[in-house]
C-alpha cells in the first residue's frame, strides 16, 4: 500500500497545518529543519539507523547513522559559531558529493544561518557572481576547489572565512580554516537556534533570461511540503533505501537529496562518481536501492546503452522510480517498464516552488508524457498567455500558474524585489512554463515561456553566457540559445560575430568553449559554436535570440518585420 493511498481522497479536506502537525512541526516551538532531519529522528528512537551510505568513485564506502548526523552537524554548527558566524549569515557549501556536504548543510541550519549550496563545477565567474550577490560570509569547500575560491577572494570583501574540510597538509592562507568533521570533538548536544517557520533557511541560485542569476530564498517551514511530498510522491517508507541522483548544488539535491528523506528518517545512498550505466546498475544492486529519483537525461543515457547492461544486474530491489528536471518523454516511461518492470513517475517543480507541485502518484494511472496532477494543497491552473486568466477550454496551452501560499514557496529573490514581483500576475505565481490540461486534469508540458536553456535538467541563463563570451578577446557580439539534443533535451549553442582581426577556426572554437566552461560551468559551455557575420537584431538593436532559437528547433519564425538586418 502506498503512503498516499488514494490521490482523490487526499484532495478532500487537505490542510497544510494538519500536515505540519503530523510531522510535529512547531511542537515545543521547534521549527528548525536541521533538528527535524537529525535530532528528531534520534528522539524517535532511530539514532542507530543508517542515514547515509556514501560511495566514492574509487568504491570506498562510508556509512553514517542518524546519531552521526546529529553529532557531526552539531560539530559543524559549533565550529561555525566559534568563527563568529551567526543567524542570518549566508554560508556557502561548495563541494562535490562528499558526506561533509550533506552533514554541514544540517549544521548550518541548526545554527540559524542560511545555507547557500552551489554546484561544485561552477567556474570562477559563476561562483563570484553568486557569492557577491548574497554577500556570503563563509564558504565550506575542499582542497580540490580551493584554488577557484582563492582567485576570486579579493573581489569578495564580505567573505570572512574559507573552511577547508579536507585540508590535510595543505598550506592554508589568512582567513582559511581547516576542519575535519570526523576528527573534530564529538558534540552530543548543542543548542539548536530558535527559528520561526518564516526564518530563512536555504538560498538557491537559479538562472533567468536576463540579468544575473537570482537567489531564491526559502524558509524553514518549507520542510512541511518537502517532507510530505517525499512521503506521498516518492513513497518513502521506513525500510526503503533511497537514491536521489541530483547534486545538492541544485534544489532537487537539497529538497529531495537531504531534507525530504532525512525528515522521514529514511536511509539514503549517494554515489559520488560520474555517470556510467554499468556503475549505476552495480550501485543499485550492491546497495539494494528500492526508490530511485533521477532525471530524464540520465534515463535517456541509460536507454542509449540498451537492455544488455540491465540484464547483467539484479535490480529486483527497485520498487518505485521517479524523475524530475525536464519533461519525461513517453518513450522513457515505456522503456523503463521494459527495463525495470515499472515506469518512471514524472514530477514537476522548480527552484522557486521548493517542492513538487505537479506529479504522478503511486497508484494513479500514468499517462506517459504527462506531468500528472497538482499535489494536494497546491492550487494550480493554466492561465492565458496575455490576460493571466485561467483558461477555460480543455487542451488550451497557457502558462502554469500556482496560487501563492504553500509552505515551500520562495519568499524572495535575494536583493531583487522587482523580478520577484514580476513572477506574480493576477494573484497567481507564474512558473514560466507552458502547458495544457486534459479532460481528466492531467498536465502536459509544452515548453518554457522564456529563453532560459534547460540542459540536462539544469537551467542556464543565456545572458550569463553572452556576458562571459563578450569577455573573450575575439568576440564582438554573441547570442546563446538552446538547441535540441536527444539526450540533454537542450544544449547551449552560441552564435558569435568575431572582432576584426579574428577568423573562425577549430582552435578558436575550442578555445571559446573551454573559456566558458572554466569561467561559468560545463553546463554553460556551448556544445556548438556558429560564427556569423552579424546577429539579427530589432530596430532598437536588441539581438533576436528567439529567432535564432526558432531556427534551431525548426519552428515558425513568425513576424520578422522588426528586424534590422538578416
Amino acid at each position: 500500500m502506498s503512503n498516499i493511498g488514494s490521490y482523490e481522497s487526499r484532495l478532500k479536506d487537505f490542510d497544510w497545518k494538519k500536515a505540519g502537525d503530523e510531522l510535529g512541526y512547531g511542537r515545543d516551538e521547534q521549527y528548525n529543519i536541521g533538528y527535524f532531519c537529525s535530532d528528531r529522528i534520534c528522539e524517535l528512537g532511530h539514532g542507530k539507523k543508517v542515514a547515509l551510505t556514501w560511495e566514492g568513485f574509487t568504491g570506498e564506502v562510508k556509512q553514517f547513522t542518524y546519531d552521526d548526523l546529529r553529532i557531526y552537524s552539531n560539530s559543524f554548527a559549533s565550529m561555525l559559531g566559534g568563527l563568529g558566524l551567526g543567524p542570518g549569515d549566508r554560508i556557502c557549501v561548495f563541494m562535490d558529493r562528499i558526506p561533509e556536504l550533506y552533514i554541514s548543510f544540517l549544521g548550518i541550519l541548526k545554527m540559524g544561518a542560511i545555507v547557500q549550496p552551489l554546484f561544485s563545477a561552477f567556474g570562477e565567474d559563476a561562483l563570484e557572481m553568486r557569492l557577491e550577490d548574497a554577500k556570503t560570509k563563509a564558504i565550506l569547500t575542499t582542497r580540490k576547489h580551493l584554488g577557484k575560491v582563492r582567485r576570486i577572494r579579493a573581489a569578495l570583501p564580505d567573505l570572512v572565512w574559507v573552511i577547508v574540510v579536507d585540508a590535510g597538509d595543505r598550506q592554508l592562507e589568512k582567513g582559511e580554516v581547516a576542519f575535519s568533521m570526523e576528527k573534530a570533538p564529538k558534540i552530543e548536544r548543542s543548542e539548536i537556534a530558535k527559528v520561526g517557520p518564516e526564518t530563512p533557511s536555504v538560498l538557491h541560485y537559479t538562472s533567468g533570461t536576463t540579468g544575473k542569476p537570482k537567489g531564491a530564498l526559502h524558509v524553514h517551514s518549507s520542510l512541511i511540503a518537502q517532507a510530505l511530498s517525499t512521503k506521498w510522491v516518492l513513497d518513502l517508507q521506513p525500510d526503503d533505501v533511497y537514491w536521489c541522483t541530483a547534486d545538492p548544488g541544485w534544489v532537487t539535491g537539497t529538497s529531495y537529496g537531504i531534507i525530504g528523506p532525512w525528515a522521514n528518517g529514511v536511509t539514503q545512498v549517494v554515489l559520488d562518481a560520474g555517470f556510467s550505466a554499468q556503475k549505476w546498475y552495480a550501485f543499485i544492486e550492491k546497495h539494494r536501492v528500492t526508490v530511485w529519483y533521477s532525471a530524464p537525461t540520465a534515463i535517456r543515457l541509460l536507454m542509449k546503452e540498451g537492455l544488455d547492461p540491465v540484464a547483467k544486474h539484479n535490480l529486483a530491489s527497485l520498487r518505485h522510480l521517479a524523475s524530475v528536471g525536464e519533461p519525461l518523454n513517453a518513450e522513457a516511461v515505456i522503456w523503463s517498464e521494459k527495463a525495470f518492470g515499472r515506469p518512471f513517475y514524472d514530477t514537476y517543480w522548480q527552484t522557486e516552488t521548493g517542492a513538487i507541485v505537479i506529479s504522478n502518484y503511486p497508484g494513479m494511472k500514468i499517462k506517459p508524457g504527462s506531468m500528472g496532477k497538482p499535489f494536494p494543497g497546491i492550487e494550480a491552473t493554466v492561465v492565458d498567455l496575455k490576460s493571466y486568466e485561467p483558461v477555460k477550454t480543455t487542451g488550451t496551452v497557457g502558462l502554469i500558474a500556482l496560487k501563492p501560499g504553500w509552505p515551500s514557496m520562495f519568499r524572495m529573490y535575494w536583493n531583487n524585489k522587482e523580478t520577484y514581483d514580476k513572477k506574480f500576475r493576477n494573484g497567481w505565481y507564474i512558473c514560466g512554463d507552458r502547458s495544457s490540461i486534459d479532460a481528466e486534469g492531467y498536465y502536459w508540458f509544452v515548453g518554457r515561456d522564456d529563453d532560459v536553456i534547460n540542459t540536462a535538467g539544469h537551467l542556464v541563463g543565456p545572458f550569463e553566457i553572452e556576458s562571459a563570451l563578450l569577455e573573450h578577446p575575439s568576440v564582438a557580439e554573441s547570442a546563446a540559445v538552446g538547441k535540441p539534443d536527444p539526450i540533454n533535451m537542450e544544449v547551449v549553442k552560441a552564435f558569435i560575430a568575431l572582432k576584426p582581426g579574428f577568423s573562425k577556426s577549430e582552435d578558436l572554437t575550442m578555445d571559446i568553449m573551454n573559456y566558458i566552461r572554466k569561467r561559468l560551468s560545463p553546463l554553460a559551455m556551448p556544445q556548438e559554436i556558429e560564427f556569423v557575420d552579424a546577429l539579427p537584431k530589432t530596430r532598437s538593436g536588441k539581438i533576436m535570440r528567439r529567432l535564432l532559437r526558432a531556427r534551431e528547433w525548426g519552428e515558425e519564425i513568425g513576424d520578422i518585420s522588426t528586424l534590422e538586418n538578416d
Binding site: 580540490k144 584554488g147 577557484k148 556510467s276 577549430e506 582552435d507 566552461r517 559551455m525
Partner: protein, 84 residues
Amino acid sequence: MSEDIKKLIIDYVKKEYLDEDSDQVVTEETKLISSGIVDSFSMVSLKMFLEKKFQIKIPDEKATPEAFDSVNSIITLLKEFTPL
C-alpha cells in the same frame, strides 16, 4: 610514440580540466569521467581536441563515458581510427 601520445593527452587534461592550483596527479590510469575530472558535457571539448589532433572523426556512439574514462582507454579508442 605511445608515451608521447599519453603525455600529450595527460598534459591537455591537466591544462584544461584541472584547477591550476590542483595537486592531483594524473597518470594514464587515472579515472577521468568517473572521478568527475571530466564530466559528460566537457567530454565534447575533449573529443574535439582528439579529433583535431589526430585528424579523425569519433562517432558519437563510440564516445562513451567508459571509452573516455582514462588516458589508456582513450588510446584504445584512438587506435580504432588511426595507427598510433
